[in-house]
Amino acid sequence: MLVVHANWSDDCLHLWGESVAALRESRSTTSPTHAFAASSKEVRQALESVIGSLNGAKEKHLDLLLPHHVDAERADARRATPLPSSRLAGLLGQTSSDDEMLTLELARVPTIALTPTAALQLLLQLRDLEGTHHEHFVTAHAMHWWLVLAQFALDCVVDQRVIPTVLQRRDGTYSAQWRPWLNDPDANAQLADLLASMPAAARSIDGSSDRAWPIVDSFLSATIDTIIRTALVDEDFEESIADFDTTSDPHAAWLSGLLGKSDVIKVGRRPTFDVLRDTRGWLGVLDEARSTTGMRLHLEVREPDLEPQEDGTDVSWHVAFGLVDPEAPESVIDAQSLFERSGGKRGSAPSARTEELSEMLLKELARASRIWPELEDALQEATPTGLTLDTRQVYQFMRDVRPILLEAGFFIEVPEWWGESASRINANLLIDSPEHPPTMADGAAAAAMGSQGSFGGLGLQSLVGYRWQVALGTQVVSVEMLEKLSQRGAPLARVGGRWVDLRPEDIDSALKFLRSHPGGQMSLVQALRMAHGIDGPPEALPVSGVQATGWVRQLLSGNDPAESFQMTGPPEAFRGTLRPYQLSGLSWLAFLDRLGLGACLADDMGLGKTIQLIALLQHDRAANGGASSGPSLLVTPMSVLGNWKRELTRFAPELTVHIHHGLDRPAGERFAEVTQTHDVVLTTYAIVVRDQEAMQAIPWRRVVLDEAQYIKNPPTKQTAAIRSLTTRSRVALTGTPVENRLAELWSIVEFCCPGYLGTHQDFRRRFAAPIERNRDRESAERLRALVRPFILRRLKTDPTVISDLPPLVESRQHITLTAEQMRLYDQVVAEMLGKVDATEGIRRRGLVLSALVKLKQICNHPAHYLGEASGELGQQAKRLAKDAKSAAVESTSDEESDASDLTTLPTLPPSALAPERSGKTQRLIEMLEEVLAAGDCALIFTQYRQMGHLLVGMIRQALDVEPLFLHGGTTQAKRDALVERFQKSDGTTPIFVLSLKAGGIGLNLTAANHVFHFDRWWNPAVENQATDRAFRIGQTRTVNVHKYICTGSLEERIDQMIEQKTELATNIIGAGDAWLTELSTGQLRDLLTLRRSGLEGGE
């Protein structure tokens, strides 16, 4: 496995790699060669395994200045070893190296060097591969920056922001080059972002004085030049200068250098210098706006005072001149008043300032007239104040001239309506539907059911009436009206009291369109797709959306109460209290359910998706006269199975729940019987695949997916199994912002509303590619409108939600142990109980205490208990640890009194970092993903330093962020630095892992709005103190506290005792673990034995 890096040097993209194998061999070298760099050959092979042959790549090497460990034990600093890159450290699960002494040292790396053409090709391929995994290599973090840079170069070409130029090289030769034009404000701002975000690694070439611009400049120019030159050579552009003598005419030589294969300008020095000077003067015009100091020309388009006449006589528009200070563009000095002043009406001499301004206005007008020749007429006057245009001229000005003037730095004000899509002819779809949707009760609807995947409500297949209408602005217009406007032929027209942009081509297509689409009936899915411009016939007309009557109108308005949305009351027998926004969520779910439509509830984490869903299940019963309306299947990740069970029992005790899990779960016929007698069947994603056949046989009332982002594309067995279920309605729950993750969005909508977004390929072509690659706003907007009726996502910051939220929301996460955890847990309990009777006194206490520690470790993660860093990588890790002088000198505080203290090991084997081995870590990663997606920040408290290290490695690997870590060994200075970095909350360090002892008091960490208690301390006061790091003065958001408890384990037992305030509990609190040692064997057995509740996976 290699980590592939890129550097740009000598007009080549150099790729080099860090090799995991080489790092393990830890070959020691005295040469300046990087200690674990891959050979050129290895880099080539790794890349070629995925992207195909890299023809023409040359084997080279580069000298880089990279961070190295300072080896404190050796005075000889040249023996320093290179620091693994952030990506490599993540792969190896190395923990934070912030404490280390680092130095910048020279390291030579073997590379393969790609020409600009090949480099662009490669970067574009890597861009397509981003997010996918390969066996042989991963790309370094900096690679993403190079991809963005390559994309930027490409955008410059596509957007025609390139110029031909002349370069005079140090050796006195000249060459012709295509390069980007980056001097306009927008491009310059993007360039500043690119320079500021350039990773240090990308400018670490020795001798390049670590400046960003020369590298960016060289990369962009070389890339753009190669794109354009190749295109021009392919199309033989050099022929166009065949009649010129390129050997003596310097300008022709320049052109030849721009159009041909070779960029060299081969005429004498002096004449070429003249080309350089001339070109400089020519290009300088582009830069004028920047070099002119002072005021800029301001043009304001004013609407005619008179309404246009019916007979078609034209009206006059006025373009008023003025001056504006670019620093304060809101105040305009108009030319009229300026000349009045300088004209000296009262006979007094004009002030110098007025003179100066008049002069400036004239100069600016002259500058603008080069772009817009119409202004020359105005310049004939002594005191030009404006220009009168007819409708056609003003239209052409606003459409064609304005964008260019804007880019040249002029200020132009046009009427508000200009440029709004609502100001153009557009088509919208009118859907007619009755006030009430067809329901199960309707005979017709019931008869129509049974088609694949859907029965009951007709859902997306319901027939609705539709017809197209054409609107001008917001006003619907008739065919007659359109024809009349078309005869008039003016490009702008006054309709319904406002101006609209009336392109003749639009009128033609509108007329043609209306004639060929008289309307009729079609299915809801067709209508909605068409209304948003998909599958729609109106090729040439912008589709402005959809209007509807009846229930479709309600559907489209989402759960907006302003749209008189029908609210559902909290169901009877529901034991919880729904906050107002939760009630509206329930109403929305119930509404879509009635229509037989799928729904995706994507509320922010902490807003209570679970409780809304449980209310919906209870609502089913209530709506069915208190009887079961058929079994609902609830599919969840294994880790939260127990949590669901608990919440169901707590909020809806009336519902009968079958947990379909474990080795002895019913199969076939028996499963069918069981489903008939339960309201809810609770299972995991894995079981759905395994019991696919039995599941398919059941006509589900509803299928619910929790953490629906689990179904992914390309479809896995799991996804296919879930899609194959027969159900009346479908609900997906997810806390990630689905709208922004297009792959996820398609999968989830495909589950909720099969077929709605088309095939995956179709979706990629139509939406994903334009949105992700070209950041196409229109496609993004259309997609959002299209899925809006089916996705409800509320943020904690939404005004409707925020007022409903208390400042502190506490929840217990009941986590299911994995099979491995259970096995280990049982072993430890059995072993302890087997010995405990035979011992007494201090030995007995020791036995009990050590068992207790082990059980807590097992609940955290098997690797925590097994001390798994001593495996294959252990030796290497220890060596590195020694090199790095990492945590070895840290004192062990009592909280970290693990039997196998491995905190000195910065490197952990991959299996130790597998979150799926523990229910807790699995759940933590899931939840953190949502935290990150929402841009939130989290504190994670654990009692164990070693677990902290594991968490840090795991988070880094799974989520690719760098968590901060504070533990007992952290120095005071370092603590302050960590806190400051976290509180800065600039998004770079959103996760902070803390040991409870070291971080539980004193710190102010209000940047966090999530607090995770990963393992439990028996003392609620200590936990609350830790929570108060975030929940304190200065906190402006709701703080969500998540307490992790393993179902059936001692964690849950003790938690219950504390909750119920038992007598035993008072002994527990504040006494540490000592009280446990005093328990009788019977009590111990009762407390520690794993309680099975059918949740345990035997799988």
């Binding site: 990279l66 596509v158 130029t165 320079l195 611009w213 002096r270 210098f273 100091t293 690659r773 950041r775």
Partner: protein, 302 residues
């Protein structure tokens, strides 16, 4: 004035021939309130003249003996009417700045907008003198040796044959000083470049040099903003990852495409009317755009 009086005033010069329409030194205040350029220049000339020449020269200047004065690049020619029948011909040859020195100077001027602004209104700010010194340009804007002695800059030659600075040169210098008071930027021309050219070169932002690296395009502002980049030494703990501002680029909406926007701003080509460059460029831009779209939207070859 009588014959006697003239004879009894030894320093009184013999009357030169009268001139009609010559340049007369008119300043009522004398030389007292000259601005620094004129003042410095006059001192430089007077430092090389003896007392007689100074006084007679002043008298010549006041009576308007200077018949003609033509500044050109690097020198001034003047005719001053003395006692002989024909005017004496004078030449002041100034040390010109080398092209290289001019390059440096223009580069410095263009770095600060204030220079161009003052030059535009015809002023020569005193900071220019210090700037010239700091750029290690050999000849100062006006050469005066320490101690007020004359340097050989300008080299004064007069057909009267005097070896020192003669009264004719003094007379003409008063006139020139008065002109410099109005038009100090004339000094640029005397140092080798007419002010219009200086302004033009400043306008071209950075001057071009026939040696070293150079390019026809101006640099974008962000290119020289050093604050954007952290030195490697300070980035050791955050060496590998792109900075946060990368997200800003990625989330920035793409501007709507305006065909040939740059081209329409550029105007006529540097090749003059000989070749329809702009038309060719339009085709090139479209070809390039097509190629760019092809590359951008190319589905992966996987």
């Amino acid at each position: 004035m009588t014959q006697w009086q003239e004879q009894n005033k030894p320093r009184q010069p013999e009357n030169p021939r009268r001139v009609i329409g010559g340049y007369k030194f008119k300043r009522k205040q004398g030389v007292a309130d000259f601005a620094w350029t004129a003042d410095l220049f006059l001192r430089a000339i007077l430092a090389g003249a003896d007392g007689d020449a100074r006084e007679e020269g002043l008298a010549y200047a006041i009576s308007g003996q200077t018949v003609k004065m033509i500044p050109s690049v690097g020198r001034i020619e003047a005719d001053v009417q003395g006692r002989s029948s024909r005017p004496y011909r004078l030449e002041l040859a100034f040390t010109q700045w080398t092209p290289d020195e001019w390059d440096r100077l223009i580069a410095a001027f263009s770095a600060e907008a204030v220079f161009a602004a003052r030059f535009l209104v015809g002023e020569l700010p005193a900071t220019v003198a210090t700037l010239i010194e700091s750029l290690a340009i050999k000849a100062p804007i006006v050469a005066v040796k320490p101690g007020g002695k004359s340097s050989n800059d300008p080299v004064v030659t007069c057909t009267c044959g005097a070896t020192q600075v003669c009264k004719h040169a003094v007379a003409m210098s008063y006139i020139l000083a008065e002109r410099l008071e109005e038009e100090p930027l004339l000094l640029f021309q005397l140092r080798g470049m007419p002010v219009a050219r200086v302004l033009e070169q400043i306008h071209q932002k950075r001057t071009l040099s026939t040696r070293g690296e150079n390019q026809a395009h101006p640099l974008p502002a962000a290119a020289s903003d050093e604050t954007l980049v952290t030195p490697l030494e300070n980035a050791l703990h955050d060496f590998w990852r792109p900075g946060r501002r990368l997200h800003e680029i990625e989330s920035r909406p793409v501007p709507t495409h305006t065909p040939h926007a740059l081209l329409r701003r550029l105007g006529a080509s540097p090749m003059g009317g000989r070749f329809p460059l702009v038309g060719l460029l339009a085709t090139i831009y479209d070809t390039a755009r097509t190629r760019g779209i092809l590359l951008r939207d190319r589905e992966s070859s996987r």
